[in-house]
Symmetry: C2
DNA sequence: GTTCGTTTTAAACGGTCGTTAAACTTTGCC
DNA sequence: GGCAAAGTTTAACGACCGTTTAAAACGAAC
């Protein structure tokens, strides 16, 4: 049986996951070393293998801990909007909100872990390791299909490739923004602050929805 | 004096740069090993140090070879449009074309090296190593400033943060699309093909320009 | 053909990596 | 207490990494 956490301090598995998340954020999946991780987690090296089997196993656990709940939030929010609409097509603004808000909220978590979580999202986009990619491709497909169906319902005149491309563009803009929050803030001299979730959400919705609505008029 | 290339075969520096580019595309900057690179380039390990000084030096050379010309193309295309407009504001479609076409053309290069070049772009977005980041931050700032100035001229009513965010979103969508061309094509079952440069360019311009034009009416 | 600077090679250095096997400590249960 | 299971630590293995040194091969100039 696992040892109970010592009141304030999280248990070993959690400490390892937190440390791994930070390490991945800072150095990428390949560059994050187990020895650095266990040092920050104040845990012995072999403990990682006892709980997670291997480095890849640990990486998968890190991803599942964050992106499992994220997928559920995506589908739940979209489902809530669809239930309220009772079969009628959703305004693209609501579809965009269901796409964007869960990741943006995740990015605005507790300051200590904020950068780790956001950069983690960016790392996945360009991750070469197929074992790590595979963890997320399945659930990404499910979420993408759900949003695509909603968009097709709202914009029946739009062609499928036009919608597919636009969904990719929205994901890309989101991933890029989340990827290096500090960099954007610096390069725009503080004008773009990712921690202001509501602002960013509004900005993105205002930017993207006209491009979707243009598809409603003529086939695109 | 450097040995002349043997007609068909590129010289050693070029072979190393090509191999390094492929390796980075496949495994990232940290994961790309010099021993793999020199094996593919059919060159001795120490040759890398003779020509490039270190691994970081090689990485910098790889980036400069591709993104130096890219920066020039960006500024040249924007300059051409501005010269033709003779001081009048540019339509956002032209500004977007100057932002998007050079990278898209670069991505449509010779098939053998295509994936390497496109994935290289994606890697940079999430690169942790500050030495590598630094190579591109300077020239990125210059290009961003040029496009921002053009946008401000065309959309004088738009607020600065609104424009800054939108520029980031466009870069993000572009980088994401270029990052893993094969993945998008597979996940959309072939509907999204990045090699069709004209299609992708038209799709992006049609998607983004309404979001920019919306800023022309009321302050955003 | 010898000489000199340039280019290429072979071999090794120290270090870090992921991983494993076995010994050790703790914990819950009779 | 004694025992088995769960958890933790120690210590080491082999592999690969970036880097350096010094010697060999080469090309042009005289």
């Amino acid at each position: 049986m696992p040892k109970m956490p010592k009141s304030s301090e999280p248990d070993r598995q959690t400490r390892i996951l937190d440390a791994a998340e930070s390490a991945i954020a800072e150095s990428g999946f390949a560059g994050a070393s187990l020895r650095d991780i266990v040092q920050e987690a104040q845990v012995n090296l072999a403990t990682v293998y006892y709980y997670f089997g291997s480095k890849v196993g640990l990486m998968e656990a890190v991803l599942k801990r964050r992106f499992g709940p994220l997928r559920q939030e995506h589908l739940a929010m979209l489902g809530k909007f669809e239930a309220a609409a009772r079969g009628r097509p959703l305004p693209v603004e609501q579809i965009l909100e269901a796409m964007l808000l869960p990741p943006l909220r995740l990015a605005a978590k507790a300051p200590a872990k904020r950068q780790a979580v956001t950069r983690l999202i960016g790392r996945i986009v360009t991750e070469p390791n197929p074992q790590i990619q595979k963890v997320l491709t399945g659930q990404r497909a499910e979420v993408r299909a759900a949003f695509l169906r909603a968009l097709q319902h709202s914009l029946p005149k739009a062609s499928l490739p036009a919608l597919l491309w636009r969904v990719e563009f929205v994901w890309g803009a989101l991933a890029f923004a989340l990827c290096n929050p500090g960099k954007i803030e610096i390069e725009t001299h503080g004008a773009c602050d990712l921690t202001k979730t509501d602002e960013v959400l509004a900005e993105m919705i205002h930017f993207f929805s006209p491009g979707f609505r243009a598809l409603a008029r003529n086939a695109g």
